[in-house]
């Protein structure tokens, strides 16, 4: 049971991360603010993990490949509380993920987050380094797709 809860929590935060992993140089702010409900990515925000509440923000240098950039995602309401992440990219690759807001309602939440968020960091970076084109997995429904890695790949052009 504990394992199931951890997975659910990781998944909720994973949506935020995946929505934020947009290497498109041209439109980072748009990519992230789409968690608020605009476009294809918005469907992820509404069906998977609740509705985004903040607005996307970009700071750091807007410059050529190789530059370090920091993207702050919208806060997304999950069933465990709001989750918000900051992603640092270098040369279009994720170099660091900081979770700047996560549920801390009770001791159990803290236990879950201490475990889930570091693991999630590793997984998000590992999945990116695998550099895959497409995912084969158990049949998803139209709704499940919005939470899938395939959905993230479809949105993240390279």
């Amino acid at each position: 049971m504990r394992r199931a809860v951890i997975t659910a929590s990781a998944t909720a935060a994973g949506v935020v991360l995946l929505l934020s992993l947009k290497p498109h140089d041209a439109a980072p702010a748009h990519a992230i603010s789409s968690a608020n409900g605009g476009g294809a990515a918005g469907a992820s925000g509404t069906s998977g993990a609740g509705t985004g509440t903040g607005t996307g923000a970009t700071d750091g240098a807007q410059s050529a490949d190789g530059a370090t950039r920091t993207l702050t995602g919208s806060a997304v309401n999950t069933r465990y509380g709001p989750v918000q992440v900051k992603v640092t990219t270098a040369g279009g690759r994720i170099s660091r993920i900081d979770v700047i807001q996560y549920p801390t309602g009770d001791r159990r939440d803290r236990e879950i987050n201490e475990y889930a968020i570091p693991v999630l960091n590793q997984e998000a970076i590992a999945a990116q380094s695998a550099d895959i084109d497409v995912v084969s997995g158990a049949t998803y429904t139209s709704d499940g797709y919005t939470r899938s890695l395939q959905s993230a790949l479809d949105q993240a052009g390279e």
Partner: protein
Amino acid sequence: MTADHVEHVMGTVFSFAVRDPGPETGPAVRRIVERLHRIDALFSTYRPESEISRLDRGELALAEADPEVRRVLERCAELTAETGGYFTARPGGRLDPSGYVKGWAVEEASRALRASGSAHHCVSGGGDVQTAGGPWRIGIADPHREGAVARVVTGHDLAVATSGTAERGPHIIDPHTGLPSASFASLTLVGRGLTRLDALATAAFAMGAPALRWLAAKGVRALAIHPDGRQETTGSWG
């Protein structure tokens, strides 16, 4: 992949990525998408007016059905024979060739892209993948960690079909017992043509434990991920 098109159809999602787009690509994708919706209208078990629903209720005679419906049901019957009954167009007693139709629709989409001049593309539908050209890097979803990849398969002209319980729970019925099969968390097959591969994946999933040996004997490469997370492959996998 950068999806050139994403289409919600047949209760799932189809993604298209074309690496060698030309002037014919856009119109070809539009025609393919129209065809997918026609296939859904003919074959959906969720639509009471589909030919499959009407055949099941006895309101439509097979001889009067769309030629495409007849061909699909013939092919399903051949696969039932090949799989010793583990693949069937009547998995829960009612007529439901969905286990064939999705993989077939994805492969048909790839065939149509080829006909439009594309030699490098990837089509996925509900987690089943048909590629042309390459190399393509195909991640196999880890059924125990949503969003994570268990393995990566790289190659040219590959089809990859996965059956599993990750999203919908145990739902693949063993036709011989009438009970859902839960031997594997997921079972992935790698080959050339998705239509047959997808049907074999469904059959092998229902078969359970003996499936890997059965697939190996057919020369089909497979990766099983067991409910305890253990991974097992046919000898030919690597």
